[in-house]
Symmetry: C2
């Protein structure tokens, strides 16, 4: 099997790290790989804030709802939607930036941030390092903005821990492939039997980890999506200058 | 150099494909890799529609503003934000889905779609195939919804061509790394000299390709972002059930 493909097939989130630092060379290579990733219209509307300072990581851990791996892993990278950068192009061209007044603008910033995040994760894993994506910073995006001194027209959308692996968790089960892949046209939502079988598999996975707080997919998804799970995204995006009205 | 890392460092968009089909085995492996990628709260709110039918690809090419590589490459994959899938979890739990009424919901769908897209691209390139991401389907998202028979609570956010490489373009220059990477805190937007040097480099790249329509970063970005480049994203998302009011 192709090693690069195998790496992607074995994605997992690592939450157990050693104390060992990530070398400057490894970190440079990981970030350069993410920098080579494509962006919509080559606008390059994503930036990173690389945090190694332990006090800053401790604060980020609190912001994200107390996630101890952010304290333990030596590197945290915040992925930032960045229309401040494109704003400099507008100024130089003597034009007024409008894109950030639209859902399209915020969505393309989030989409491109996902591309950057996936590339960071793949590059770190290529070097034998562990990663875990952190959406929990959207629990309090304003606190992240204050901590990292982010300017207007930017938004901290997601983050990632990187460090040396202390232990490797098993692969987390996914819904079956036919709930993800539709050929030629949409083929419908998962049926009850498919979901029940997946939830049984997921509960066995939680049990294998000794995690008594693990929920089935149905209950986990329902508990988060019966409300707006991170309700500050919209108001903080608005106070940063994103309107999403168009 | 680590081959998996090198692959990421050499990302480029391929627009020149041979007639050769992508094998079922390669396509299965690429999609399985993307299916292993992480999602927010393990919600798995992304699905793919895999299009090989030539007539459908021709129509997608038209929708995306006449991009001939969508006709030529044997596979087009549409990445779909999918809260219809999570909706089945809500139903089974006897709860009402609310997440899609928020910017958070649409943004996390876009973010997770970016992770899936980047993983599709990396997996295809690991197998020696060429790829080009296609944001142009947002030119007319309703036409994509009609063509692929996408249900309410889904949105076709981006796509990707996959095929065998006929010719390999040079790497496209990016803004310098220090405009992408900020250490510890935000370090400011690119200065005028940095942007001017990048635009000179980008114009030399266009010239090397014989592309007389290539614009500098400043003019290209300004021409797209002085308006809402794909203005149908918000109204079509709304008619699909996404409110983004919260």
């Amino acid at each position: 099997m192709n090693a690069s493909l195998q790496l992607l097939l074995e994605h997992r989130s690592f939450r157990d790290y050693t104390e060992q630092a990530v070398s400057d060379g490894d970190l440079d290579a990981i970030i350069e790989a993410a920098h080579r990733a494509p962006s919509s219209i080559n606008g390059q509307q994503v930036s990173l804030v690389v945090v190694r300072n332990p006090a800053t990581r401790t604060r980020i851990s609190e912001i994200a709802g107390n996630q101890p791996w952010i304290v333990k892993a030596p590197v945290f990278i915040c992925v930032v939607i960045d229309f401040a950068k494109t704003g400099t192009a507008m100024e130089r061209a003597g034009e007024t930036q409008i894109i950030h007044e639209s859902l399209e603008g915020f969505a393309v910033g989030a989409l491109d941030s996902g591309i950057v995040l996936a590339t960071l994760m793949a590059a770190a894993r290529a070097l034998g390092l562990g990663i875990v994506p952190i959406g929990g910073i959207r629990n309090d995006p304003q606190a992240m903005i204050d901590l990292l001194e982010l300017p207007p027209m930017t938004f901290p959308i997601v983050g990632c821990c990187i460090g040396h692996i202390a232990s490797t968790p098993p692969l987390k089960p996914r819904l079956p492939g036919n709930t993800f892949r539709h050929d030629e046209k949409w083929q419908g939502v998962p049926d009850a039997a498919t979901i029940a079988a997946y939830d049984a598999e997921l509960m066995a996975y939680w049990q294998s980890l000794g995690r008594t707080d693990g929920l089935p997919w149905v209950e986990n998804t329902a508990s988060r999506y019966k409300r707006v799970y991170f309700p500050k995204t919209k108001p903080v995006a608005a106070s940063q200058g994103f309107l999403v009205d168009k």
